[in-house]
């Protein structure tokens, strides 16, 4: 692993009170950030970052990477048609090996648009892990769990998660437990997962309160909101990551704040599937840790976190008719240091002494960012993702001057084309 001395750049620093930019030399030693110069007997390469912003890699906190094959496959159709007639028949028949290539396509898009780490949930967890490993990305991967009983049908999957945690053990790959949703998991299964996560040190992620149907069904079954239900069965805690939370009921945000759980908002997906707008302004005011996810490409239809950041702020400003709602500084923190907090790793999502060197180099001479009147603001309101020039993950470049170093784009496109041809219903 090479060491780097990165000169002439502007770095984005996460402080307690917000973000700031400063001109500073960054040293990357053994995969970690340092501001201590190299000694005479250390080898290093010099990287000239003139006219570049060096920012923490973006963290996509909720996606389904293999679904990138379904980008624009089922747009502008009703949700039930989308799920039952378009997505599920493909999932049911997809050869498991195919998911390696389709996940790698997701990694490719994420890297080119400045994402260095993602949290993934689906049934092809092993292929997603292999794709992240080969792409050189940081990932937190969970097998979507459904059914009645973790120690019945589900146990093999839990054991597998444990074994994979061992097998893939590395600086970059992590596993978490991902029950799919309250309407696809029995109460018993959810309780078992909660207990297992505590015992074996897993984070857990679940889809929650995404649609009004889910809310209505939960009230019918349990007489309370999905959030209250999860709290009452002991599932909610500070190691819990809740994806969506669009339909928040009275008291829900207080419960989430008091448990210390994290919310991942997925603004494009929620919009695209007609689920509405999550109450981000209220979440922020409640002091909840909120992060950003793209969801899968089948419901977005891109894994571009820059597009998600701009959309987030504008969506909430429009919805509240308040031009001060959700400022850019907060948005950028949601996509970086908030995610580090949620993943219980203060060394990702931030540039500081000892942090993992997950760095994105943004070209400040991009037409979309020029003139650079306010760099932080431009990341939210002006950038489209194409300004990303280079990406380093865990101290290694995975893209440099827009050349992909870990992924063979032509090969991935070739393999995905074959998979699409064989599996999608056109």
């Amino acid at each position: 692993m090479a060491n780097y001395k990165i000169i002439n750049g502007t770095i984005l620093t996460c402080l307690e009170k917000g973000l700031k930019t400063e001109e500073k030399t960054v040293f990357v030693r053994d995969g970690r950030i340092s501001f201590q110069p190299f000694s005479e007997d250390e080898d290093f390469e010099v990287v000239d970052a003139r006219r570049k912003l060096i920012m923490p890699g973006l963290i996509n906190m909720h996606t389904h990477s293999y679904m990138t094959m379904m980008r624009n496959y089922a747009d502008d159709v009703p949700f039930t048609d989308w799920l039952f007639n378009r997505v599920m028949p493909v999932e049911d028949n997809l050869p498991v090996e195919a998911a390696y290539w389709t996940s790698l396509l997701g990694c490719l898009e994420m890297i080119t648009t400045g994402t260095t780490c993602f949290v993934d949930m689906h049934m092809y967890h092993r292929q997603a892990a292999l794709a992240a490993r080969d792409a050189g990305m940081r990932a937190y991967i969970g097998r979507g769990l459904v059914g009645e009983d973790l120690y019945g049908d589900g146990y093999s999957r839990y054991q597998q998660a444990m074994e994979e945690k061992e097998e893939f053990a590395s600086d970059r790959l992590n596993f978490l437990l991902s029950p799919h949703a309250i309407y696809t998991c029995s109460e018993k299964l959810l309780v078992q997962i909660g207990e297992a996560a505590k015992k074996d040190g897993f984070l857990k992620q679940i889809h929650l309160s995404e649609s009004m149907t889910e809310i209505e069904d939960c009230y019918k079954a349990h007489g309370k909101s999905p959030v209250a239900y999860l709290k009452d069965i002991g599932f909610l805690d500070a190691d819990t990551i809740l994806a969506h939370c669009v339909q928040m009921q009275e008291g829900d945000l207080d419960i989430i704040r008091n448990c210390g759980a994290t919310i991942v908002t997925n603004v494009a997906s929620n919009a695209k599937l007609g689920n509405g707008i999550a109450p981000l302004v209220d979440m922020r005011e409640a002091g909840i840790n909120v992060c950003v996810g793209t969801d899968g490409a089948a419901s977005n239809n891109t894994l571009n976190m820059f597009r998600e950041m701009g959309l987030l702020s504008l969506m909430h400003k429009a919805h509240t008719r308040d031009c001060l709602a959700i400022p850019s500084d907060y948005i950028v923190q949601m996509a970086t240091c908030h995610a580090g907090k949620a993943l219980k790793d203060k060394n990702i999502g931030s540039i500081h002494e000892g942090a993992r060197a997950d760095l994105v180099f943004v070209d400040l001479d991009s037409p979309s960012l020029f003139p650079n009147n306010n760099i932080i603001s431009s990341l939210c309101y002006s950038a489209n993702g194409s300004e990303v020039d280079s990406v380093m993950i865990n101290g290694s470049f995975v893209m440099k001057n827009r050349d992909l170093l870990t992924i063979d784009k032509e090969r991935v496109f070739f393999e995905v084309s074959k998979i699409v041809e064989a599996n999608l219903i056109h």
Copy 2:
């Protein structure tokens, strides 16, 4: 002017009932599109458009190009602070020549993101015309008119518009009359502009019903909505382009439809300034011709029409909680053929025999668009603007394989840097 035979591409065709893609050879003869092969005695160059979508150039129907210098200059501040303390002091002191370079920066961003034509309004109309001329862009330019009387203080400006219409007369440059707003123009001035436009064959554009303050003030002054007021003074007709129309009152949409006026929606700007969300679903249902504008970079903060298209559909799907609201097919038409209709030129915004050759070549092997499950859909839901590979305007390439052919980027950045340094308040 060279002729071109464009082979191996996929073209986007605008039909009565929507859009379709087809593989077809395009001939560009004397700046116009043809499907008739060249004869033996015609000279032409062959362009290989393999794996490219050839689509009509996007038309940005409302912007203030010189304001690109103020990108991210005043974000996340209250509207009055934005206007009176940040934007207006700069406008008051900007040397008129500076606006040439800052408008050219706007042209640069528009070309790189696939816009071939724009409608511009501000006080630096001459500099905008020169910038559009030099950039090789198609433009409709209007001097923002304010005050009491067209034939008093304003007459020199109207005369100037007439003279410039002569001076710049070309296939690409057009002028229109642009009264700023009902709250900055007297009734007399608006009536005079309406009459002059009819007499001398100008289109006209005005900011209308943008904020609630404008609505409230109009009811106080005239006892009716801004739309009803403009109708009653005879200003509204089929040659009228209404920018914004966010705050539509009872009956307003019927009036606009019956007059045959066009609405330009500016979703990012309306969101960013806290004005809310225009009722696009109702506008569409009413059968009104609706187009897309970015507004200026000071309130957006980009002139990227692809970003605007994605935002538009998602914003309205979220707001209405309807996943079928404003489909991608309609969005792409808003940004192309609807604009041709508004500008009374059926030969722009569409690829057909005899149309102006304003063509955008989109790289279908971009990570954001692959796999190409639905190309039209991907233009709205997946593209970020960086997929634009080449741009032809009026039969001449202004960008080819991502190289700008009419604009010297380094020179523009150098000049704009000096202007920003001297004029913005940091």
